[in-house]
C-alpha cells in the first residue's frame, strides 16, 4: 500500500499503538485530575519524569528491581502529589483555571531545572528487567518483549481506572462531588479528602508511566517536558475531562503519529498539533467532550 509493504505497515501500526499506550496513560491522569479537580496539571510531565527517576534511584542505591519500582514509585510520587495538593493546589480551586495552570507550570520548571542541574541532560541508563529481555519474531517485525508488556500493562491500567471511575460506587461519589460538592458533603462524605486522594491517584498514574518508560528511553530530566505538550494536545482532542475519550484518543493518536513516521517522517512531531487545530475548529469541546 502506498509503496510500503503491508508487513512493514503492520509493524508500524503496532509501534504506534505502543507509543499510544504512553499517551493514553498520561492523558488519563490529566483527564482524571481536570475532570474532578478542575486543575490543569502542568506538573504531570515532571511527575512522569520523577517516577522514572525514583525507579532509577531504587535500582541504583536500594537494589530494588523494576517490579518493586512499578509498585513503589507511584506510591512515593503519589504521596508527593498529595503534599502538593494539601499545601498549594487546594487554595486555587475557587479561582480561574489560569492560576492552577501557572502554579503547576512553575513547579514543573523548578523540578526539571533541579534535576537537570544535578543529573545533566543526557540522562541515566536503566536496563530492561531480565524477565522481559529479548523479543519475538512475528514474521512482519521483531517485537521486543518489553514493548509487548508495555501495551498489555497500560491497557489493563487504563481500563481499570475507567471502570473504577465510571462503574463503581467510589467513582460515582467522585463524579457527584465534582458536580455538587456541597450536596455530597451534606450526605456525609469527606469531599476534600476524596479530592486529595484523587490528585494523588492521578499523579501516581503519571509516575507509573514514568517507570514503564524508564527502560525504553533514558531516565532523563527532560523526558516529561518533551512529552507533556503532546499529551495536552491528546487531552484537548479527546475532550477535557473525558476519561474514555482520553484513552481512545491516546491510542489513536499514537497510531496516527506512527503512520506519519512512515509516510512523512519530517512531520511526525507536528501531526498531532495539526489534528488538534482541526478538531478545535470543528468540535471545540473535543471528540468526546460535552459542551457545557
Amino acid at each position: 500500500m502506498f509503496g510500503i509493504p503491508p508487513q512493514a505497515l503492520f509493524g508500524q501500526l503496532l509501534l504506534g499503538l505502543i507509543n499510544g499506550a504512553f499517551y493514553a496513560m498520561l492523558s488519563l491522569g490529566l483527564a482524571v485530575i481536570f475532570g474532578l479537580l478542575n486543575i490543569i496539571n502542568f506538573t504531570h510531565g515532571a511527575q512522569y519524569m520523577l517516577g522514572a527517576f525514583v525507579a532509577w534511584f531504587l535500582l541504583q542505591y536500594g537494589g530494588v528491581s523494576y517490579w518493586g519500582a512499578l509498585l513503589l514509585a507511584p506510591l512515593v510520587i503519589g504521596a508527593f502529589g498529595i503534599v502538593l495538593e494539601r499545601t498549594m493546589l487546594r487554595h486555587l480551586y475557587q479561582l480561574d483555571h489560569l492560576y492552577g495552570l501557572l502554579l503547576t507550570f512553575g513547579l514543573a520548571l523548578i523540578i526539571q531545572g533541579l534535576f537537570r542541574n544535578q543529573f545533566g541532560s543526557s540522562g541515566q541508563p536503566y536496563p530492561i528487567p531480565p524477565a522481559l529481555q529479548g523479543g519475538q519474531n512475528l514474521g512482519f517485525m521483531f517485537l521486543p518483549n518489553y514493548r509487548a508488556w508495555v501495551i498489555v500493562f497500560s491497557l489493563v491500567v487504563c481500563l481499570t481506572t475507567w471502570y473504577v471511575i465510571e462503574r463503581t460506587k467510589l467513582g460515582s461519589y467522585l463524579r457527584a462531588a465534582t458536580e455538587n460538592p456541597t450536596l455530597v458533603q451534606a450526605l456525609g462524605i469527606n469531599v476534600p479528602r476524596m479530592i486529595t486522594l484523587t490528585y494523588g491517584g492521578g499523579v501516581g498514574l503519571a509516575a507509573l508511566a514514568g517507570v514503564l518508560a524508564a527502560p525504553i528511553y533514558q531516565v532523563n530530566p527532560l523526558m516529561g517536558a518533551d512529552l507533556i505538550i503532546v499529551v495536552f494536545a491528546v487531552v484537548v482532542i479527546g475532550g477535557l475531562g473525558s476519561i474514555l475519550g482520553s484513552i481512545i484518543t491516546g491510542f489513536t493518536l499514537g497510531i496516527v503519529e506512527g503512520l506519519t513516521k512512515v509516510f512523512y517522517p519530517e512531520a511526525s512531531n507536528t501531526v498531532i498539533f495539526v489534528l488538534m487545530t482541526i478538531v478545535l475548529l470543528l468540535k471545540p469541546a473535543g471528540l468526546f467532550g460535552r459542551t457545557q
Binding site: 509493504p5 512493514a8 509493524g11 508500524q12 509501534l15 504506534g16 505502543i18 507509543n19 537537570r116 545533566g120 541532560s121 543526557s122 540522562g123 541515566q124 541508563p125 536496563p127 530492561i128 529479548g134 523479543g135 517485525m141 521483531f142 521486543p144 518489553y146 514493548r147 525504553i216 528511553y217 533514558q218 532523563n220 527532560l222 523526558m223 518533551d226 512529552l227 506512527g258 513516521k261 512512515v262 517522517p265 519530517e266 511526525s268 512531531n269 507536528t270
Partner: protein
C-alpha cells in the same frame, strides 16, 4: 565661525586618534559562550564549555594586552532565531568581542552571518556542518574542533573498509544531519559502497522504533546514525532493544561524544567505532588538563567540543595579545591564521584561510565493559588520522575566500 569649526574638527580627529591607540574596546575583552544550556546538547557543550573558556582565560593569566578578560554565556535553545538575536545583542550592545562554541549547525550558520556582518569573531567548536568552512566560510570565523567531512572521513571510511558497504541513514532533519549524511554518502560511494536510503527524523525525538524498523527493512548492512546527543543515545539504546545487532546489521555512530557513551553505559555502547578530535586519556597533557576540568565540572570529563573551546579561546587570546586590539574581527582572525596553533590538547597546528583548524583526528572503538578500568575509561585508540588527511582539502570546499 570657520576657525571654530576647524577647531572642533581637529578636536574630534584628535579624540578619534586617541581612541585608536587604546584599541581594546571597552577596556575589557569579553568572551560570550553561546550554546545549548538546557536541552539535548547541554552535556556535550553547556556549562562545560563555559568552564573550558574560563580555564583558557586563567591559563593565559587572566589579562590580555593589559586589560581583564570576562566570560559570559547564554542559552540559544537550539533555535536559530534565538541564537542570532543573542549574538546581535552581544556584539552591538553588550560589548562582547568574540562568540564561542555555538553547537547546532542551523544556529551556527545563522550566527556566522551575523558575526560576519558586524565584524565580530566566531570561534566555533560545537557545530559540525562542514559548510561553515565551505560555501558559508567567513573571514570572521574559525572552525576549531571537528566537522562532518572529518567524521565521514574517519568513521565512514573505516566502516566501509571493514566490509560495511551498504548503508541506510537515520538522519536528524536539519542542517547538521543533512551535511553529515551528504559527506558520509560521498565517502561510502567513493569507497565502492552503496547507499540504500535514509529516513529523516525531527530534532530531539524520543522514540526511534519506527525509524529503526524502516532501517531494518532496508536490509542495509550498516545503519548510519547521522544525529547527535540525546537522539544518538536513544537510537543506540532502542536499536539494541529491537535486536538490530543480532540481526546481522551494524550501527555506525557518526557523531558520538564521550558524554554520550557515559550516558549509555558500556553495555549498550561497546564496539561502536567513532571519530573524535580529543579524548581525555590521549597523553599526559590531556590527562592533566582533563583532571583539572573534571574538578571544576562535577567530576565529568570534557567532551571534544569543550576541549575545543579551550584551545580556540587560548589561541584567540594569543592573537589579541600580539595585535593589542580586539575591535576588528577580521584582523583578529587573520592574526589567528598567521600564528601557528599550539596547546596541550590539540598539539601544534594551523588555521587555514577558510577558517578550518588543522590537527589530527582519532578513530576510537568503545571498550567492552570488562576491558574498562573504571568510570570514563571508555575508548581504545584504533588509528590516528594525521592532520594532513583529517580535513577536507582546501580546494574542495567551494569556499569563496580560497579562490581570491
Amino acid at each position: 565661525m570657520r576657525t571654530q569649526l576647524l577647531c572642533i574638527a581637529t578636536a574630534v580627529l584628535a579624540l578619534a586618534a586617541g581612541s585608536a591607540v587604546a584599541q581594546i574596546s571597552g577596556n575589557v575583552v569579553k568572551i560570550g559562550v553561546l550554546n545549548d544550556q538546557s536541552s539535548l546538547y547541554a552535556d556535550i557543550t553547556g556549562q562545560g564549555s563555559v568552564v573550558a573558556a574560563r580555564m583558557a582565560v586563567e591559563d593565559f593569566g587572566g589579562k590580555v594586552a593589559g586589560v581583564p578578560v570576562e566570560v559570559v554565556f547564554a542559552d540559544h535553545q537550539n533555535k536559530p532565531d534565538v541564537g542570532t538575536s543573542l549574538a546581535r545583542q552581544w556584539l552591538e550592545r553588550d560589548g562582547v568581542d568574540v562568540i564561542v562554541d555555538v553547537p547546532t549547525s542551523s544556529v551556527a550558520l545563522a550566527v556566522n552571518e551575523v558575526v560576519r556582518q558586524l565584524n565580530g569573531v566566531l570561534l566555533n567548536s560545537g557545530a559540525a556542518s562542514a559548510d561553515l568552512t565551505g560555501k558559508a566560510c567567513s573571514p570572521n570565523t574559525v572552525h576549531w574542533t571537528y566537522d562532518t567531512w572529518a567524521l565521514a572521513n574517519g568513521t565512514g571510511k573505516a566502516v566501509v573498509q571493514s566490509g560495511g558497504d551498504t548503508w541506510f541513514f537515520l538522519t536528524s532533519d536539519y542542517a547538521f544531519g543533512h551535511a553529515l549524511e551528504r559527506d558520509v554518502s560521498n565517502v561510502v560511494k567513493a569507497s565502492g559502497g552503496k547507499v540504500l536510503g535514509a529516513v529523516r527524523h525531527p530534532l530531539n525525538s524520543a522514540d526511534f522504533s519506527s525509524f529503526l524498523l524502516q532501517a531494518q527493512g532496508s536490509k542495509a548492512k550498516i545503519i548510519g546514525l547521522a544525529n547527535a546527543g540525546g537522539d544518538t543515545i536513544n537510537s543506540i539504546k532502542q536499536a539494541a532493544e529491537f535486536g538490530i545487532g543480532t540481526g546481522g546489521q551494524k550501527l555506525a555512530g557518526l557523531l558520538v561524544f564521550v558524554t554520550d557513551v557515559h550516558a549509555l553505559g558500556l553495555q549498550a555502547a561497546q564496539g561502536l567505532q567513532l571519530t573524535e578530535a580529543f579524548y581525555w586519556d590521549l597523553n599526559d597533557q590531556t590527562r592533566a588538563w582533563s583532571k583539572r576540568f573534571a574538578e571544576k565540572h562535577g567530576g565529568k570529563m570534557p567532551s571534544m567540543v569543550q576541549a575545543g573551546v579551550y584551545g580556540a579561546v587560548l589561541h584567540y587570546l594569543k592573537a589579541v595579545d600580539q595585535l593589542k586590539s580586539d575591535g576588528d574581527g577580521k584582523a583578529v582572525v587573520a592574526k589567528m591564521q598567521e600564528i601557528p596553533t599550539n596547546d596541550p590538547l590539540f598539539g601544534q597546528g594551523t588555521i587555514r584561510i577558510d577558517g578550518r583548524t588543522i590537527h589530527p583526528m582519532y578513530l576510537f572503538e568503545v571498550k567492552a565493559p570488562h576491558a574498562s578500568k573504571g568510570p570514563w575509561d571508555y575508548y581504545q585508540l584504533l588509528h590516528t588520522i594525521p592532520a594532513a588527511e583529517a580535513f577536507r582539502p582546501l580546494d574542495q570546499g567551494e569556499c569563496p575566500l580560497v579562490k581570491q
